[in-house]
């Protein structure tokens, strides 16, 4: 009696050494992919003029620049603070517009609940378009359409983020449990009823968390969209940096950091409370 003849293995068939069924190794393919990636990165480094040594050589310039920032000026703090409030308002209304756009687009652009394949593809392409065009490009367009100011910035943010949120919503809807949806369909519910009872409860937590994430990102975008005339604190950022007014620029940047930190803390509170 040899080893392995007792216990669970006693009943397992014993014979000559077995060979596992053939399979292809993934190592070769990974090596080729890694080599390809290295080539692309090396070429891209030349394109972006990647010269890390210059950071050291020019460190003197950078120190002079930083010194200005160590002495923030509070001469115009009232005006900057008001512009910070404007910035938050742009992000708030931009996010609201984005949600209003994203819900119908996301529903129509989900393969599993879209009423028709043509509608599905149409909604997907519209969302692609909204996401492909950067919010700053939209802002430049809206500045010509509705004039300089926060309204143009809010429209630009809302429309771009609407595409992003719509895409995220449709991905979430496509991943839901079809059984729970069928449980609602099976009582003879209409399409709207199925969405309200079978789909919405399943996607609500993820959608809320995506909205909060995008709101944080909208705050960051709103803080610079003034550079292209979209209103808010961004104009002052642009103005003070361009005129080498380092201590004023420092105040503006500190304010932006403060807003972003506040919103991040707030949204993580909401997330913990709601999800």
């Amino acid at each position: 009696m040899g080893r392995g003849m007792t216990g669970t293995l006693a009943g397992v068939d014993r014979g000559p050494a077995l060979e596992l069924p053939p399979h292809t190794s993934a190592v070769g393919r990974s090596l080729v992919a890694a080599a390809g990636l290295a080539l692309v990165l090396a070429w891209a480094a030349r394109v972006v003029e990647l010269r890390p040594l210059e950071l050291l050589r020019d460190s003197g310039n950078i120190l002079v620049f930083l010194k200005g920032f160590l002495r923030p000026s509070f001469a115009h703090i009232g005006e900057y603070a008001w512009q910070a409030v404007v910035t938050v308002c742009i992000a708030l209304w931009g996010s609201l517009l984005a949600i209003v756009l994203a819900i119908p687009l996301g529903i129509l652009g989900s393969r599993n609940i879209s009423p028709h394949p043509v509608v599905y593809h149409l909604a997907r392409r519209v969302m692609d378009l909204l996401r492909a065009v950067n919010e700053f490009v939209f802002a430049l367009m809206f500045v010509t359409a509705v004039g300089l100011g926060p309204f143009a910035g809010m429209l630009a943010l809302g429309i771009h983020t609407g595409g992003v949120l719509g895409k995220l919503l449709s991905e979430t809807i496509e991943a839901i449990d079809p059984g729970q949806v069928e449980g609602v369909t099976s009582v003879g519910a209409s399409r709207l009823q199925v969405i309200a009872f079978g789909v919405a409860p399943q996607v609500a937590p993820n959608f809320l968390s995506y909205i909060l994430l995008r709101f944080e990102s909208d705050i960051r975008s709103a803080s610079v969209i003034g550079m292209v005339g979209g209103g808010g604190i961004g104009f002052y950022l642009w103005d003070t940096i361009r005129s080498f007014n380092d201590s004023e620029a420092a105040t503006v940047i500190l304010l932006i950091v403060a807003i972003v930190m506040c919103v991040d803390v707030l949204s993580s509170r909401i997330r913990r409370f709601a999800i």
Partner: protein, 274 residues
């Protein structure tokens, strides 16, 4: 003996998924008050039959009539009306897990709402009459005190009872139950089957249930439909469903295997011809 109008009438029904035959040619009727057990191994076509009856999937051959409706012609509102009249019970319950228990029962009322009530229901506000019905149905399955709990906090057996409360609220004319007790323990299985049996007898409703357990079929059903590789191999009163028949349905002896191949060949011929 007076004749009762059938609730379902199937005429030469078959179902193919691309070229694979899921259901062979079959003709039968189901009457109100009948408790029909559908028996067979996995993949024998039991679930396909139920999905065809609920019109979740169209048949590829023959006709299915519900009362006087030809299911193939139903679209839009008429199809939703059919689904309201046909209640479904699932192995995995298919309740909306994040909703409260009461909301899941109220879902059963969705097909009955009209006008403003229908609009308000989208915001989960139901007329008091419908809320009362839902509460009574929950009481009937003994889960009224769980009304405000989130559905996924309930055990499997409790969730299946919620699903039954939902179907009671739906007021269907027939119940299709797809493996209603396959995920439940013995006590819960008996409670669910008792409730379904009472619905069939008291409300004169037809219940068509696919079952794995022959014992449960024998205890609760009036009639057995046994499927094997998509073909109906037994249709008769439960008393005639003998051990020999069970053997024939579930175990592939040599003679049975030959019978299978013959059936497959017939099926293929039918498909080519039809």
């Amino acid at each position: 003996m007076k004749t009762i109008a059938p609730i379902f009438r199937l005429e030469h029904v078959s179902k193919h998924y691309s070229s694979r035959r899921a259901l062979g040619t079959l003709s039968l009727t189901v009457k109100p008050g009948e408790f029909v057990a559908v028996i067979g191994r996995s993949g024998a076509g039991k679930t396909t039959l139920l999905r065809c009856l609920a019109r979740f999937t169209p048949v590829t051959g023959g006709r299915v009539y519900f009362r006087d409706d030809d299911l193939a012609t139903l679209r839009g509102a008429a199809l939703r009306r059919h689904r309201r009249r046909v209640g479904m019970i699932y192995q995995q319950f298919n309740l909306v897990r994040r909703l409260r228990v009461l909301d899941n029962v109220l879902i059963g009322r969705l097909g009955h709402l009209s006008g403003v009530a229908r609009l308000l229901a989208l915001g989960r506000r139901f007329p008091s009459a419908d809320r009362d019905i839902a509460a009574r149905c929950l009481q009937h399955v003994g889960l009224l005190e769980r009304a405000w709990q989130r559905t996924d906090t309930l055990s499997g057996g409790e969730q299946q009872r919620v699903a039954i409360a939902k179907i009671l609220a739906q007021e269907p004319e027939v119940i299709l139950a797809d493996e209603p007790i396959a995920s439940l323990d013995l006590a819960n299985s008996e409670q669910v089957m008792d409730t379904l049996r009472h619905i069939a007898t008291d409300s004169d409703l037809a219940v068509i249930a696919t079952l794995h357990h022959v014992d449960f079929a024998r205890r609760y059903a009036d009639r057995v439909l046994a499927f094997r590789a998509g073909h109906l191999v037994f249709d008769g009163p439960v008393a005639d469903f003998t051990d020999a028949e069970v053997q024939n349905v579930f175990h592939e002896g040599r003679p049975a295997k030959i019978a299978d191949e013959a059936l497959n060949a017939i099926g293929a011929l039918e498909w080519v011809a039809g």
